[in-house]
């Protein structure tokens, strides 16, 4: 699909792929020298799903995200997004395909205002030269940025320098920056890391709300967050899919408990 995304706010209407997964990986394998970080990982994520990827340290979760977002090129296997093969595309092209990632390490520009942070991300959807020529495009960008700020609960902080936000607000701004690129798939890397209990609850609620129009992949160690958000969990262990299922099934899976408790 090579729809023209240079104008307008709404994502282009998808081709009829009803029932088909939004994201599929087939036999995804990543080797670093002699170390196999991911081994033959095949998953399928349906549109609108919130899928959690869990696993102990070194299970391959970040490597998996790195492949999806073009940071790493897999040694073997394929990644299909909306039916299109995106394996090995560089990050900026992956971003154009409407896959966004919010990072553990914050990506914000501290000296810019909250609105500017989101606006710059929203502009990435538009060509620079056309932005200068078409006032309409600019108002679109501003409208988009405003809508995103409202969605992440930062509407009343739009004119504040991003540096003034609390840690929790900065993490939510990070999600806003990802949202501003109009993704269909949002990859969240430990969105509640370093947050207080109250901030964590607020962020879970935020993710639940934005999930209405999105497909979300989430890597997170806080099991309360994972179980509260995801309908399906994929458990990675030593780079392989150990188990996949609903939260209750995963919790009842003795192999998964063994891996976590190292018994």
């Amino acid at each position: 699909m090579t729809a023209d995304r240079s104008r307008g706010l709404a994502a282009p209407a998808p081709a009829d792929r009803s029932g088909a997964p939004l994201l599929e990986t087939h036999g995804l394998t990543v080797r670093f020298g002699g170390l196999t970080a991911l081994n033959n990982v095949s998953i399928a994520v349906q549109p609108g799903e919130i899928r959690a990827i869990i696993g102990p340290n070194g299970a391959g979760k970040s490597t998996f995200f790195n492949c999806l977002t073009g940071v790493l090129r897999p040694s073997r296997g394929r990644i299909l997004f909306n039916g299109e093969d995106i394996t090995g595309l560089p990050p900026h092209q992956i971003s154009r395909k409407a896959i966004a990632r919010s990072y553990q390490i914050t990506n914000i520009l501290p000296g810019a205002t909250v609105l500017e942070n989101v606006r710059i991300a929203a502009q990435s959807r538009h060509h620079g030269w056309s932005l200068l020529r078409h006032h309409r495009a600019y108002t679109d960008v501003l409208a988009r940025a405003g809508a995103v700020l409202a969605a992440v609960g930062l509407g009343d902080k739009a004119e504040e320098p991003a540096a003034n936000l609390s840690h929790g607000e900065q993490r939510n701004l990070e999600i806003g920056i990802a949202l501003a690129t109009e993704p269909k798939l949002l990859c969240l890397d430990e969105p509640t890391a370093g947050m207080s209990v109250a901030e964590t609850h607020a962020t879970v609620e935020l993710i639940r709300q934005i999930a209405a129009d999105l497909t979300i992949l989430i890597v997170e160690h806080d099991m309360e967050v994972v179980m509260g958000l995801a309908r399906t969990l994929t458990v990675l262990h030593y780079g392989e899919v150990l188990a996949e299922g609903a939260p209750a099934e995963i919790q009842a899976n003795p192999r998964v408990q063994e891996v976590y408790l190292k018994t």
Binding site: P56, N57, A193, G194, S196, I250, Q251, Q257, Y260, K262
Partner: protein, 235 residues
């Protein structure tokens, strides 16, 4: 011997430790369990003066050590083995050990004694003493990091996930090493995610979640409390 009282630590704006209180008595092995990102390593870094707490007090043998520099804490007898081990990869095994050994107050004969003692506990380090640290396996590097901490003749050692990424055979070896330290009356604060290992070597265990201690029990009590283990460490 070591006491943290209501310690709060921030990384920039991120409030990581929310009033942590932990005690380790002389010669005691204490476990600190919890999932990734709950503040276990930050607790050790705060004790070791690598991050300064914003509030709270840390004392060692009755002396307030809050905010002291790491080298001064090392001289007081606090050893630290960080999660990434921090061995000198280009120095040989012996040179790595000497970084902790070549202190003015240690006589040459005492140096030899200390070396012989760690070589007895870690025979592989004697075999490889002229080999560059970076060429050791992960498990051997972990041993070297612990051995180097022992060169300072610490009263307590802070161990940060010593078994992470190690094969089961090496995990068993690390367990023996902890037992050896314990027999020598060295206190240990052991950060781990390996529940069986921690229950086997520790007398008491603290469990952390979201920057706070949520549970505290003897290893025996905790071993019999599958529900708590599952809640804080399982899935």
């Amino acid at each position: 011997m070591l006491a943290l009282e209501n310690v709060h630590t921030y990384y920039g704006k991120s409030h990581v430790l929310h009033g942590v209180s932990i005690r380790v008595e002389a010669g005691e092995v204490v476990g600190l369990l919890g999932r990734n990102g709950v503040g276990k390593s930050t607790t050790l870094k705060t004790i070791m003066g690598l991050v300064r707490p914003s509030a709270g007090r840390i004392s060692f043998e009755g002396q307030d050590i809050t905010g002291l520099a790491p080298h001064r804490l090392a001289r007081l007898g606090i050893g630290y083995v960080p999660e990434d081990r921090r061995i000198f990869r280009l120095l040989t095994v012996l040179e790595n050990l000497r970084t902790g050994l070549d202190r003015a107050e240690v006589t040459p004969s005492r140096r030899q004694e200390l070396l012989e003692k760690v070589y007895a506990s870690f025979p592989v380090l004697r075999e490889r003493r002229h080999q560059a640290g970076g060429t050791l396996s992960g498990g051997e590097q972990q041993m070297l990091a612990i051995a180097r901490a022992m060169m300072l003749e610490p009263k307590i050692v802070l161990l940060d996930e010593p078994t992470e990424g190690l094969m089961p055979r090496m995990v068993a070896h690390i367990r023996e090493i902890i037992d050896v330290l314990h027999r020598d009356a060295v206190a240990i604060l052991l950060v781990e995610q390996n529940v069986p290992l921690t229950l086997a070597v520790a007398g008491r265990v603290y469990i952390m979640e979201k920057g706070a201690v949520r549970h505290h029990a003897t290893a025996t009590e905790l071993g019999a409390n599958a529900a708590v283990i599952h809640q804080y460490l399982g899935v």
